[in-house]
């Protein structure tokens, strides 16, 4: 849906993930969509260079979030939110409804 605006579908997936979960990391994105991790790393770097996302290293994981200082953040989020509404339920269920509540370490599944 936003592919035409952003130039590729990976950016759209990243923006939906950040919109829904608030944060994410390349391997997490890759596993969710079953795609190569470098595809996401490359696009996240592009978004970071543009000031749209920021990252910080937590242990060995580089965690990405929207950049709260990006001057068009409110407008971008509104666009992403609108596009997300139009996403088929099947797709929302498959990719954007992961468990986000905590799970105690060592707890059996």
């Amino acid at each position: 849906m936003l592919e035409g605006v952003f130039g590729n579908i990976t950016i759209e997936k990243i923006l939906f993930m950040l919109y829904v979960y608030g944060e994410g990391y390349p391997l997490g994105f890759a596993k969710t969509f079953g795609e190569p991790v470098n595809r996401f790393q490359q696009q996240l770097r592009r978004l970071e260079n543009a000031g749209i996302v920021i990252s910080r290293l937590i242990g060995k994981v580089r965690l990405y979030t929207f950049n709260p200082r990006y001057p068009f953040l409110e407008e971008l989020k509104a666009l992403v939110a609108k596009a997300y509404e139009f996403l088929p339920d099947k797709e929302k269920k498959a990719y954007y409804t992961k468990r986000t509540r905590p799970r105690r370490a060592g707890k059996p599944l």
Partner: protein, 179 residues
């Protein structure tokens, strides 16, 4: 003019780079920690020069190459014998969601650097404190506010717009208690 790259000051380097780029029609504005260094006469020392430009990075790179700064990654430039690191951050130059309305110019023997005003420099640092609770950024905002004449009404107005009045009041309290 012979340049001692190891000992050059941050203000002089910023001016030199700005002037070289200006000669090729590339306008820049210096933002971030380098402005704090300049306004506090290095009471806070940054080794990072962040410029905002609307020019293509390829064109910037060609100019910096002439003064020995090599492109290290997509937007970073280094020169082996110089302690400073130059970055071109993505435009626009903004504080929060507001475009810059004003700018400052400082002239040196190497040229003129266009940079954030002291008031915008305080807002820029406070923005990092507001969003990420970065107390180093808060300290830098206070250093600039104490070293330069700033417009506190403007800082207050902007902080309210950012919905960070409480943190602004904290900044003000600390500023007044340390005066």
């Amino acid at each position: 003019m012979k340049i001692d790259w190891q000992r050059i000051g941050i203000k002089e380097l910023a001016a030199l780079i700005s002037e070289k780029l200006r000669e090729k029609g590339i306008d820049t504005i210096l933002v971030g920690g380098a402005c704090v260094s300049i306004y506090t006469k290095n009471r806070y020392l940054s080794f990072d020069l962040d410029f905002v430009t609307h020019a293509r990075i390829k064109d910037v790179s060609a100019v910096l190459d002439e003064v020995g700064f090599r492109r290290e990654s997509s937007r970073h430039f280094i020169r082996r014998d110089c302690p400073f690191f130059i970055e071109f951050v993505a435009p626009p130059a903004a504080i929060g969601d507001e475009p810059l309305k004003d700018e400052n110019r400082i002239s040196t023997k190497y040229g003129t650097v266009v940079l954030l005003t002291p008031t915008d420099s305080v807002k820029d640092r406070l923005s990092a404190y507001y969003h990420w609770n970065d107390t180093q950024a808060l300290d830098q905002a206070m250093l600039v506010a104490k070293a330069q004449k700033i417009n506190l009404h403007e800082v207050k107005r902007w902080s309210e717009k950012e919905r960070r009045t409480e943190k602004y009041l904290d900044f003000l309290r600390r500023l007044r208690s340390k005066k």
